[in-house]
């Protein structure tokens, strides 16, 4: 009950007019940052951090965390409209979000994405409010082997379900792993696969690959078919929000599952990216309309968005209570806490009650405010698709180039982006799946790192992956999910004849 009282005290802090104004400013800035490629949430928060030095820590964190919410909401916009995910966790949103936009249902896709984000974040905040200490203890149980188990589970729930030819899937995914391996090997401090090139020192960043494969590739495909976007005929009216809302409750099981996956991934610092892929993969397997995923199913937008935001929000918990950031943005916020003289860690909840509960209260209010802001803008965003292709296409190209450049401040990356664009076009035409490749680029090096850390711990023995109940359960779950199609068909073969 003490928590509830603290929370209400927090609300009182947030509701001060100055703080409310900061909240709105933060959300608007965040949406802009999320929409512009090259200005991710981490970037935006980092840039604005010094501006907050003259405020009280509570006001500062309210504004910064609202930028964070705004950026999370904003990321979905470009994914759906232009197939360009600005952040790793928006990739899965493009799979069904963009096809929906192409069918003229951009408004519905945006509404579903925003609403799901809100639901996911809200679920996570409620969890933080009620069970923070318990959750922090759970996060501590994750060593390298458990982390590898989580990545393994993410891969398992995602592969084995693509419609593309098996060997093309393998080739695409493994190319992703190879690209992820380029650069410095974290475990030995050696450079590998760089062949002495300064440009390859930094490796292949996910964002450059994705902007090229998805964004530029999509423009090339559109050009091939003629000079226009398919989604131009979109019906744009504010009523689309209400109509979509009427449909959403049908997917409550998917939402709930995605919330749980998201919270789990966010607390164990695996992060929002595996959460969104895992949740999309599981939704596809378990949904009745799973075979239609990828062609513009609203459920395929709900699942990844809910999970990504539940994870993004719950990632703030290990940051506050353990000092471990669950995402790059959280890492920058963490730096902010230190600069304001607040020491994240178990004592923060005891010594800085006003700050912690002000932050948690701002999570509730910031999300509500964010949802209202972005929902009112849905018709506006959808109207972007009505701009003639010959104007919007070069502008998209320019913003893709800016996005690619800002990753490492390197013009080489801009060239690389174009190469990935042509590759994306060829892959799509030749039926090579891009999603497993992107998943491997995003998670490949992290999974390899966790794998090798585990083996260092066990001195080379693979038995570490089932050495305790937790890691054993995660690995077993992974295998079950991987072999699910086989299990399913085996089940029906054994039991169907009897029933018939």
């Amino acid at each position: 009950m003490e928590e509830i009282a603290n929370l209400f005290h927090g609300f009182a802090v947030v509701i001060e007019p100055f703080n409310l104004m900061l909240m709105l400013v933060g959300i608007l800035l965040g949406v802009i940052i999320g929409v512009l490629p090259g200005l991710g949430g981490a970037n935006g928060v980092a840039i604005l951090l010094p501006l907050t030095f003259s405020m009280s820590p509570t006001s500062a964190i309210i504004m910064l965390s609202c930028i964070y919410w705004g950026a999370l909401f904003g990321g979905a916009i470009t994914s759906i409209l232009f197939n360009i995910p600005g952040e790793p966790w928006s990739v899965a949103t493009t799979f069904d979000g963009h096809p929906m936009a192409q069918k003229g249902r951009a408004g519905e896709a945006l509404t579903a994405a925003f609403t799901s984000s809100f639901v996911g974040a809200l679920f996570a905040v409620i969890m933080i409010t009620l069970v923070a200490p318990l959750v922090a203890a759970f996060a501590l149980r994750f060593g390298p082997a458990e982390k590898f188990g989580v990545y393994f589970l993410a891969f398992c729930s995602f592969i084995g379900m693509s419609k593309e030819p098996a060997f093309k899937t393998v080739a695409a995914m493994m190319i992703g792993f190879a690209l992820a391996a380029v650069g410095l090997d974290q475990m030995t401090g050696q450079l590998r696969l760089t062949f002495g090139s300064e440009y390859l020192l930094t490796g292949f960043d996910f964002l450059i690959a994705v902007i090229g494969l998805f964004g530029i590739g999509e423009i090339l495909l559109t050009m091939e078919e003629g000079l226009s976007f398919k989604g131009r005929t979109a019906v744009i009216s504010p009523r689309v929000v209400l109509e979509t809302w009427a449909e959403l409750p049908r997917y409550w099981i998917t939402s709930l599952r995605s919330c749980i996956i998201g919270c789990w991934m966010g607390v164990t610092p695996a992060g929002a990216t595996p959460a969104s892929f895992m949740s999309y993969g599981l939704a596809k397997r378990m949904s009745k309309t799973g075979h239609k995923f990828g062609t513009g199913e609203i459920e395929g937008v709900v699942a990844p968005e809910t999970a990504a935001h539940a994870a993004g929000t719950s990632a703030l918990l290990p940051m506050l209570s353990l000092g471990v950031p669950g995402s790059p943005t959280a890492a920058v916020l963490l730096g902010g806490l230190l600069i304001w003289g607040l020491q994240p860690g178990p004592m923060l909840f005891v010594e800085q009650k006003e700050f912690v509960w002000g932050l948690i209260a701002s999570m509730y209010l910031g999300n509500v405010a964010g949802l209202l802001v972005v929902l009112t803008c849905v018709p506006l965003f959808a109207a972007i698709l009505r701009i003639p292709f010959s104007i919007i296409a070069p502008i998209i190209l320019v913003f893709c180039a800016i996005g690619a450049y800002t990753v490492h401040n390197s013009t080489f990356d801009v060239m690389l982006m174009l190469v990935f664009g042509v590759l994306g076009y060829l892959m799509k035409k030749c039926n090579y799946p891009m999603a497993p490749m992107v998943l491997a680029i995003v998670l490949g090096d992290k999974a390899e790192e966790a794998f090798r850390q585990s083996l260092l711990t066990s001195q080379g023995s693979l038995s570490i992956f089932w050495s305790n109940g937790l890691v054993g359960t995660i690995m077993a779950l992974g295998l079950i999910v991987l072999l699910w199609p086989l299990i399913q068909s085996g089940w029906s073969r054994v039991f169907r004849p009897a029933a018939a």
Binding site: I32, I33, L39, N43, I47, P165, F167, K168, V170, A171, M174, I175, F177, A178, A181, D185, M187, T188, L191, R192, L193, F195, I216, I219, L220, M223, E224, E225, G226, L227, P388, S390, I391, A393, P394, I395, L397, V398, A401, I402, Y405, T406, N409, T411, V414, M415, M417, L418, G421, V422, L426, K429, C430, E448, F451, R452, L455, L456, Q459, G460
Partner: protein, 168 residues
């Protein structure tokens, strides 16, 4: 074979050839990965795999999959689909080529000037807008971008002689 395809309504490269090309491309990529990982040690040391261990097997997987894809594409002579018509490929290259020029120009004249040229050329070429509108958008968009990135968010983007002349 080629003649048959050309005999169809609209000509274009055969899909099978492009498939074969892709498989060869992935196989070459695999070889590069394998060579690179052998350089940093592809074996299993006492305390776990060395730097090249995982990339090496990843390379082998790509090579294997590429070979299967190659054989499948090669043997699939029944596949008489066109990859795309020349007309379609022309449209695709009308985006790729200007973008390639754009990307090559960015290090020299900066991203803002290059963007103005790209947007202007694209609008004039594909959209056939009149000059006033072309100039408005081609200069306006980079200008707004400049203000947002350089002034507002303090993110420096590549600049060229014009920006330096103006003192930025």
């Amino acid at each position: 074979m080629r003649k048959e395809i050309e005999g169809m309504t609209a000509a274009g490269p055969s899909h099978r050839r492009v498939e074969v090309g892709m498989a060869v491309f992935t196989a070459v990529f695999a070889l590069i990965v394998i060579i690179g990982s052998m350089r940093v040690g592809r074996d299993w040391a006492e305390d776990g795999p060395r730097a090249g261990f995982i990339p090496f097997y990843v390379g082998l997987f790509i090579l294997g999959a590429s070979l299967v894809n190659l054989v499948q594409a090669w043997r699939d002579r029944a596949d008489e689909r066109r990859f795309a018509t020349w007309d379609q490929l022309g449209r695709v290259s009308s985006v790729v080529l200007p973008t390639a020029v754009y990307v090559a120009l960015v290090p020299w004249i900066g991203i803002y000037t290059a963007s103005a040229l790209l947007i202007g050329a694209f609008m004039k070429w594909h959209g056939r807008y009149n000059w006033s509108r072309v100039l408005l958008i081609a200069i306006g968009v980079p200008l707004v971008t400049f203000v947002v990135f350089e002034r507002w968010f303090l993110v420096p983007l590549p600049k060229g002689p014009i920006e330096y002349f103006l003192g930025f």
